[in-house]
């Protein structure tokens, strides 16, 4: 491995040069080197021509940070388990909200006493809190299993800036399905019902997922949720047992 006689300008130095954050002496040195090195100028051009922008940080995190003396807890990725715990704690105080959700979802039977379904969530959500809750027409909130013919609705919690990017996907037995169409007008919020409903069948567990991946080709070809990590959250439901309704 070779090194040039004059060490190249590092990316950090070039970035600081562009940001005008170098001391005058250092700036002069950089300009001298830029004048004599095609490679250094090419790197500078690369920086200057990069137009990519990062999406805004979630408003909730920003506003909390800007409140004087406020806690600086950002909106963060929350596992569905913790989201569920929070829902439990808010149930006592906010039963009206639960009732409203239930009305929106038609008639729901009491929650099944089957073991809690396995749920999981990926790390690394782009700043916002994304969660999903599956609601069965017969079993109600957080169904553990699916039965032939049972309709399911999806409640999605997401930051406002993410709505247009969301896709609903179901992975089952190595296959992927898109039971609900993407909605460019989906208005994110707290447990917002996704328009439409769907049914599940088959003998394999089903992962019902919401993904906000920017990789369009992967959204159309992924065969399992892990391929869309970290931009995906899922809820798993198992096939119903033969002696159950």
């Amino acid at each position: 491995m070779t090194e040039l006689s004059m060490p190249p300008l590092s990316w950090l130095t070039l970035e600081r040069y562009v940001l005008d954050e170098l001391a005058p002496g250092e700036r002069a040195r950089v300009e001298q080197q830029l004048a004599s090195s095609d490679a250094a100028r090419a790197c500078l051009d690369e920086i200057l021509s990069d137009q990519s922008e990062l999406p805004a940080l979630p408003a909730a995190a920003r506003s909390r940070a800007e409140e004087p003396g406020a806690s600086l807890q950002p909106a963060r990725v929350t596992s569905l388990e913790s989201a569920r715990r929070r829902r439990r704690s808010t149930t006592l105080l906010g039963s009206a909200l639960a009732v409203a959700a239930a009305l929106a979802l038609a008639v729901l039977r009491p929650t099944s006493d089957l073991p809690a379904q396995r749920r999981y969530v990926s790390d690394g959500v782009k700043g916002g809190e994304v969660a999903l809750a599956l609601v069965g027409e017969q079993q109600g909130d957080q169904p553990a299993r699916f039965f032939v013919g049972e309709r399911f609705k999806l409640l999605v919690t997401c930051p406002a800036w993410l709505g247009r990017q969301l896709h609903v996907l179901v992975f089952q037995g190595g296959q992927r399905y898109e039971p609900l169409v993407q909605r460019d007008d989906f208005a994110c919020g707290n447990r917002v019902p996704w328009p439409g409903a769907f049914t599940l069948d088959g003998a394999a567990p089903a992962d019902v997922c919401v993904s906000w991946s920017e990789r369009r080709e992967l959204l159309q070809t992924a065969q399992e949720p892990s391929q869309l990590e970290p931009s995906i959250v899922c809820a798993r439901v198992l096939p119903g047992l033969p002696d159950e309704p």
Partner: protein
């Protein structure tokens, strides 16, 4: 958050060079700033953020559950051309992942500054607040670890 707007694009370029995929690079930068909102730092200049982002990216590489995804998404073109080490393509993600589990984090960090951020030894010493000799020693350890991994090209 002013520092996010000011430094975010520079950090995104750095994350792309190291992780070699756009999505994980963006995630790394965004989650870095969200953590900073939670634990504000007195000084948020670019050298500090470069270092914080380096740690974040190395943690991603070290974590086995991320590795497969990162390797699947690797787009070598995002590495860009290397001025300091024309044959540094040996430092693909796969090699970095393997290396990250056999050498200390400080060695990995030094390696990133040298071969991805293309810093000189003095600059690395400044950023890491260590001596130039320490930087040299860490690069030597990285070179030895690469040789032990059976990589045909060894950093020198």
């Amino acid at each position: 958050m002013d520092s996010y707007r000011r430094y975010g694009p520079a950090l995104l370029r750095k994350a792309r060079r190291l992780l070699r995929n756009e999505e994980d690079a963006r995630d790394a930068v965004q989650t870095l700033f969200l953590d900073l909102l939670q634990r504000p730092e007195p000084t948020l200049d670019l050298p500090f953020l470069y270092r914080a982002l380096t740690h974040r990216c190395l943690n991603l590489l070290r974590d086995e559950k991320n590795r497969t995804r990162l390797l699947q998404r690797e787009s070598p073109s995002l590495r860009g051309s290397s001025r300091i080490a024309p044959d540094a393509e040996v430092l693909g993600l796969d090699v970095l992942c393997k290396l990250s589990v056999v050498v200390e984090e400080t060695v990995m960090e030094t390696l990133v500054y040298r071969f991805f951020d293309e810093m000189g030894l003095e600059e690395i010493a400044d950023v890491m607040s260590v001596s130039r000799k320490t930087v040299q020693n860490r690069l030597t350890r990285a070179s030895e670890a690469l040789a032990a991994l059976g990589d045909p090209k060894v950093l020198s």
